[in-house]
Amino acid sequence: MTRRPLAFLCSSWPWRSLVYLLGSAVYAVAACLLIYTGYVYGAWVASATALLVLVVLALPSAAFERWRLRLVDRMPTDNPHVKPPKKGLRAWLSTRAREQATWRDLGFTVVGLSVLCWMDLGLVSSAFWLPVLLMSGPFQPGMHWADGLPLAAGGVLLVPISAYMLTAWAGTRAMITRAVLAPGDAEIIRSRARLVDAFEAERRRIERDLHDGAQQRLVSLSMKLGLARLDLPPGSPAETQLAEAHEEAKRALAELRELIRGIHPQVLTDRGLGAAVEDVAGRSPIPVDVDVSLPGRLPPPVEVAAYYIVSEAMTNIVKHSEARHGFIYGRLHDDTLVLEVRDDGVGGADPAAGSGLAGLADRVAVTDGVMTLSSPPGGPTSLRVEIPCPVAV
């Protein structure tokens, strides 16, 4: 909502908010049925039914609330309920009854049925019907079309205002829902992200220390050995020994260079994700087509996460897929970085089997991103990652 008005109105957010709020119709229908029961069979029967419905449906209803949060809230929601220690209905019942989360679910369902759903639907109808009604002014029977025009203009003007109103309420409601039904995980994600940032800063420091220290000294050593060889007759025992030492120093330099690249790739800091991905592709033993086009530099945490995801995915392809060709795609859609790494290999990649894919999923989770893996047996494998990327710098 903080974006430029046109960008916001053209985005999917007003529509997502509308669908999110319309979901409350389920509660409204349930509430109407209860009121009808009270009207037909009396208050006692209605109260008993309400109680029964609440007890049975509180948990599914809370699950539904958490599920539909995804429409308007990118952060993943964890289920706050713990897993019962044993199988069976009794263990499940006793676990749930002693859980704080269950009582919160129950309370929220009561509030949802009695207050929230009416607010949602009231807002949707005023935000939706008022502009439509005004816009239909020129076509209303008994009204001259010219008189209706100002009304229609007013209706058109109301549309963007309604869009903001809907989105704002959906956002507020989502915040309330998250606070009650899925508390805590936002903080966990934030603290995970802080940890990753701290690790990244540390890696950069180590990389720089190695660059300024060990690497410089090894270059110096190699140069001195090279110079010393000039002073000795070629093929003499001393020269042979020196030549071996020289080779050893050069190998150490090459190994150190690879090590430093693994710790933190300098090209990522210097030239950004596009160049770094080209670099990964250039080093791959199988040919890789790169189609990455980004409008500029992305925020550093996004670049780093995306880089490690691509290089880990490429490592997996080379190790396991038997692919002959790889393909890397990257674009910034709106405010989401979309990455896709595909191959023409044997498929059958399973996140549960190896630590590589699980590590990838963790990386993505820290960025509030979404990872989709498609890898049927026989292939091909396609990994798609979407990372929220607020501002392109």
């Binding site: 270059v219 260079r257 030239r271």
Partner: protein
């Protein structure tokens, strides 16, 4: 080889002294040796050296100050020879250098290559003479893309193509592969035909044509 006037930029004092000593030992003059990009620009403007040898990464930001300084110098004096040394090679850097001043008098090498002192001084001299010298590692990466006509080359032809792209002369390639100059000339003619590149007598033009081809432009 005429005595070259060299401006050297490297932030590690030990290494800077070492490289200066090495170049002087081979009969060249190090007219300025500095420790950061801005100082390099000042020194190169003041001393008008034949060639600038610069570390890519220097203070204050420790990213690519040396490379940027080299590009700025090339923008004002396109004929100034520039050899950039880097702890790691990257195609983007190679491309930025090759695109400056038409790629004439450009060198881009891994810092490790300083250890092979004779080859290193040879590279400095070739770049100063207006040739293009590209690190074997960059060429290896470019060749690994394996675009279509490249896969039609025989392994030997690929080897020769790689050495051409690094900026070696026929004679140097013949020496490296222990064959005659004539055999190399035949290989090169074959490669150029397969890649649809015009035959070029001039070593230097040929290097640029091959590099442009490998970079896909």
């Amino acid at each position: 080889m005429p005595r070259l006037r060299i401006a050297l930029a490297e932030d590690g004092v030990l290494l800077r002294e070492g490289i200066a000593g090495l170049l002087e030992r081979f009969g060249h003059d190090v007219v300025a040796s500095v420790g950061d990009g801005d100082a390099l620009i000042t020194a190169a403007t003041e001393h008008e050296p034949d060639i600038v040898v610069a570390d890519a990464r220097m203070p204050p930001g420790f990213t690519d100050e040396g490379l940027r300084a080299a590009l700025i110098l090339r923008a004002t004096r396109p004929q100034l020879a520039v050899l950039v040394l880097s702890q790691y090679v990257e195609q983007t850097y190679a491309a930025e250098l090759l695109d400056s001043g038409g790629g004439v008098g450009i060198g881009y090498l891994l810092k490790d290559r300083i250890g092979d002192v004779r080859e290193f001084v040879d590279a400095v001299e070739r770049v100063a003479a207006g040739h293009t010298v590209v690190d074997p590692e960059v060429v290896r990466q470019l060749l690994s893309r394996r675009r279509e006509p490249l896969s039609r080359l025989t392994p030997r032809e690929r080897e020769v193509l790689g050495l051409v792209a690094e900026g070696r002369s026929n004679a140097a390639i013949a020496r490296a592969l222990v064959v005659t100059d004539a055999a190399i000339a035949k290989h090169i003619a074959g490669i150029l035909t397969k890649l649809d590149l015009p035959p070029a007598e001039d070593d230097h033009r040929r290097v640029l044509a091959v590099l442009a081809y490998l970079r896909g432009r």
